[in-house]
C-alpha cells in the first residue's frame, strides 16, 4: 500500500533551509543567543565597560597620550614597585612549588587514610576566606603576636622581632594563601598517572628514587606548569594579603593601584597601572599556554 499518491506533492527536491535546524545537534541560533544574552549584558555593563573605561581613561589625562605611562617609567619609585611585584610573585610561586609538590604527591600516593588526612588539610584552607587567612598572619606575626610571644617565652629572643610589614611576611602569607592553587593541579596530574607505570619502572629495574625522577616527576610536569601559572598570575594581582600584612616598604602593584584610587584619587594613573598589571597577567597566561602546548608536542616526539 502506498500513500504518496494521496499527498499533494510539494517540490520535493527543492533545497530546504529547515534542514539546518537539527534537534540532534543542539539548540538553534536564536535560542542560544537568548540563553547567553543575560551573561553578555552583565559582562558588558559590569566588567568590559568599567575595565575598558579605566584603561582608556588612562590615555586621556590630561589629554590623549601616554603621559600616565611616562610617569610610571620616569619615577624610580613606581619602577621599584613593579619590579618588586614580579620578585614577590616569583618568590611566592617557587615557595608554593616546593611546599606544594610534596603535599600534592602525598595526597595522590599515600595510603588511603593518610591521603584523606592530607586532603582535609588542603581543603580546609581552600574553603576558607583569604581575608581570614591573611588576618591570621597578622595575629601570628605582629609585634605581640603568636610567634614573638612563643620565642620570648622560650627565651630564644629577648626583644620582639620585627616580622610583620616585611617582604618576608608578605611572601610567607601569600604563599600560604595561594598554596591550594599550586597543590590541586599537581595533585590532579600525579593522580592521573597510571600506577602501572610506576610498577613497570620498578619491574624494569628502576629504584624508588629513580622511578620518581624518571617517571613521576616528568609526567606530573603539566600539573606543575598549571599550578605555577595559576599561582604566579594570582600573586601578581593579589590585593588582600599585601594590603594587610605588607607595609609602605612592601608596596606592590595591587596595593599601589588601591592607594592611587582611594587616597590620591588619581584614577588616570590607577588606570595606567591597571593596564600594566593586566597586560603582564595576560602575557603570562598566553605565553604559558604556548609553553604547555609546546611541551605536549615535545612529548609526542620523544
Amino acid at each position: 500500500m502506498t500513500v504518496t499518491s494521496t499527498i499533494a506533492a510539494p517540490p520535493i527536491n527543492a533545497i530546504n533551509n529547515r534542514a539546518r535546524a537539527s534537534y540532534a545537534r543542539g539548540y538553534s541560533k536564536t535560542l542560544s543567543l537568548m540563553l547567553i544574552a543575560p551573561l553578555v549584558l552583565l559582562m558588558g555593563f559590569g566588567f568590559l565597560y568599567p575595565v575598558g573605561k579605566l584603561l582608556i581613561g588612562s590615555l586621556f589625562a590630561p589629554e590623549f597620550g601616554l603621559e600616565q605611562f611616562r610617569r610610571l617609567i620616569r619615577s624610580p619609585l613606581y619602577l621599584t614597585v613593579l619590579l618588586r611585584t614580579f620578585e614577590i610573585a616569583f618568590a611566592v610561586t617557587i615557595a608554593s612549588l616546593f611546599i606544594g609538590y610534596p603535599i600534592a604527591f602525598a595526597m595522590a600516593k599515600l595510603p588511603r587514610r593518610w591521603a584523606a588526612l592530607t586532603t582535609v588539610c588542603v581543603l580546609i584552607p581552600l574553603w576558607t576566606s583569604t581575608l581570614v587567612r591573611s588576618y591570621a598572619w597578622i595575629v601570628l606575626l605582629q609585634r605581640k603576636g603568636v610567634v614573638n610571644e612563643l620565642l620570648l617565652n622560650l627565651g630564644w629572643i629577648t626583644q620582639p622581632l620585627r616580622l610583620i610589614y616585611t617582604e618576608g611576611a608578605v611572601i610567607m602569607a601569600m604563599t600560604h594563601v595561594l598554596l591550594p592553587y599550586m597543590i590541586l593541579p599537581i595533585f590532579a596530574a600525579v593522580h592521573a598517572i597510571p600506577k602501572e607505570l610506576g610498577q613497570a619502572a620498578r619491574n624494569l629495574g628502576a629504584g624508588g628514587t629513580s622511578a620518581f625522577w624518571r617517571i613521576m616527576l616528568p609526567l606530573s610536569l603539566p600539573g606543575v606548569f598549571a599550578g605555577c601559572l595559576m599561582t604566579f598570575i594570582l600573586a601578581l594581582g593579589f590585593y588582600v594579603t599585601p594590603a594587610l600584612v605588607g607595609g609602605p616598604r612592601t608596596m606592590l602593584m595591587a596595593t599601589l593601584i588601591g592607594q592611587q584610587t582611594t587616597e590620591t584619587l588619581d584614577w588616570a594613573f590607577a588606570g595606567a597601572l591597571s593596564t600594566v598589571l593586566l597586560a603582564a597577567t595576560l602575557t603570562f597566561v598566553i605565553a604559558f599556554r604556548k609553553t604547555l602546548s609546546l611541551n605536549r608536542g615535545f612529548a609526542g616526539v620523544a
Partner: protein, 375 residues
C-alpha cells in the same frame, strides 16, 4: 494491528558539503519489520534520525500513514524510538521511565498506571518497577527502552542498533523477544543495524545502504540468493571472490576463465546483464562457501569445466560445520572458504592435500570489477 506504512521519497541530506543520504526512496508496509543494513557511515542512522525528526532532510518527503512528517517536530511524530545505549532517564524508576510518554500526553493517572503495568508485563519486567536503570542488567534496560518506546502505542517503532551493547547470547534472546513483541502489537519497525546476521534473522525485508544510497531492498532470502551488487554479495552472508576473465556467453550461460586450466560457467546472469561484460574483460566471481563441493582430486589428467583445483591450507572447526580453506591454483586472491557440514566429516582432508572444488553453474555469480565493490 496498529502499524502504519512509512513512505520515504527522494530524501537528500548533507552535512556541510558532505552528502550523507542521497536520493533514498523507500516504502515500508504497515506492520513490516524492515532493517536498514550497512557499514558505519552508510547513512542508515541519519535516515533513521530523519524519520524520528532529530534531523531534517535537505530535500524529499517522509510520510507515516497519510501524514507528511518531513518537518514535524520530533515530539509530535508519534514515532517510538529505542536508542543505541537505551537512553533511559537515570533519575527515574523503571515505571517512571515507561510512564513518561503518557505523562507528556496528559493521560489520567489511573490510565497511566494500568497501561504501564500492562506494558511492563509484556516486556516481562514485573517486579522491577521501582528499580533505577543503573540497577538493571543490559538486557533488562533494553526491555525498559522497548516498553517506553511502545507505551504510547506509536504506529512506527524505530530501533538504532539496540542490541549492539549486549553480548552474543543475550543478543540472540533479545532478537526473539523483540520479534515476539512486534508480532503481538503489529507495529511497523525500522531497525538499523550493521550486523547482517541480525538483519537476516529478524527482518521481513532488508534495505542495504552504502555511501548514503540504497543499494538493494528485498527479503533476506532475496538478498542472500540474488545480491544486486558485489557490495551486497560481500556484506550479506559469507562470500568467496575470485578474479576472472570473461571469455564467452552462449545460450544464457557465461563462461569465465579463472586460471590457465580452469573456467567457470554461470547461469545466474540475466539476459540484459551480459552486455555489460565484454570478451576478455575482468570480472569478479562470487561463490557462497556452502555451494562448493569439495572432493579428492579427480583422477583425470586435466580439470573440466566448473572444477577448480587447489591445495588445502587449513581446516577450521565451527561446531555444526567445518570451513576448509583452499588456495586455488593460479589465483592470487585469498583462499576460498568451503563449508562442509560436520556430519560429512573433514578427516578425509588434510593440510597440503590437493583437492578439486566442484561448483554448479547455478551457484556462480558474476559482477563487474570495481563497480559497487567495497574495495
Amino acid at each position: 494491528m496498529h502499524g502504519e506504512p512509512i513512505d520515504i521519497l527522494q530524501i537528500e541530506k548533507t552535512f556541510g558539503d558532505k552528502s550523507v543520504v542521497s536520493d533514498v526512496s523507500l516504502s515500508v508496509k504497515a506492520g513490516e519489520f524492515l532493517s536498514l543494513l550497512g557499514p558505519s557511515g552508510s547513512g542508515k542512522t541519519t535516515l533513521l534520525m530523519m524519520i524520528a525528526g532529530f534531523e531534517f532532510p535537505n530535500a524529499g518527503q517522509i510520510c507515516v500513514g497519510s501524514r507528511d512528517i518531513t518537518y514535524l517536530a520530533p515530539n509530535r511524530r508519534a514515532v517510538g524510538m529505542v536508542f543505541q545505549k537505551y537512553a533511559l532517564f537515570p533519575h527515574m524508576t523503571v515505571a517512571q521511565n515507561v510512564a513518561f510518554p503518557l505523562r507528556m500526553r496528559s493521560v489520567t493517572t489511573k490510565d497511566i498506571n494500568r497501561r504501564v503495568s500492562e506494558m511492563i508485563d509484556l516486556v516481562q519486567l514485573t517486579g522491577f518497577e521501582g528499580r533505577y536503570p543503573q540497577q538493571l542488567s543490559g538486557g533488562q534496560q533494553q526491555r525498559v527502552a522497548v516498553a517506553r518506546a511502545l507505551i504510547a502505542e506509536p504506529p512506527v517503532l524505530l530501533m538504532d542498533e539496540p542490541l549492539s551493547a549486549l553480548d552474543k547470547k543475550l543478543r540472540e534472546t533479545m532478537q526473539i523477544e523483540i520479534k515476539r513483541i512486534q508480532n503481538r502489537l503489529g507495529v511497523t519497525v525500522v531497525y538499523v543495524t550493521h550486523d547482517q546476521e541480525e538483519a537476516l534473522t529478524m527482518s521481513d525485508r532488508i534495505a542495504v545502504m552504502s555511501e548514503g544510497r540504497l543499494v538493494q531492498v528485498g527479503s533476506p532470502f532475496d538478498l542472500y540468493q540474488r545480491p544486486a551488487t558485489s557490495f551486497v554479495a560481500e556484506f550479506v552472508g559469507k562470500m568467496n571472490f575470485l578474479n576472472g576473465e570473461y571469455v564467452e556467453a552462449e545460450l544464457g550461460k557465461c563462461r569465465v576463465r579463472i586460471s590457465e586450466h580452469a573456467t567457470l560457467s554461470s547461469d545466474l546472469v540475466a539476459d540484459g546483464e551480459s552486455e555489460q561484460y565484454r570478451l576478455g574483460g575482468r570480472v569478479r566471481v562470487a561463490i557462497r562457501p556452502e555451494d562448493i563441493t569439495i572432493t579428492r582430486r579427480f583422477e583425470f589428467g586435466h580439470t573440466t569445466d566448473n572444477v577448480l583445483r587447489g591445495t588445502v591450507e587449513a581446516v577450521i572447526f565451527l561446531g555444526q560445520a567445518h570451513i576448509i580453506l583452499v588456495q586455488i591454483e593460479g589465483q592470487g586472491e585469498a583462499p576460498v572458504q568451503v563449508l562442509v557440514p560436520s556430519s560429512i566429516g573433514h578427516a578425509t582432508f588434510v593440510q597440503g592435500e590437493t583437492v578439486d572444488l566442484v561448483i554448479a553453474p547455478s551457484a556462480v555469480r558474476l559482477f563487474p570489477r570495481g563497480v559497487g565493490s567495497v574495495q
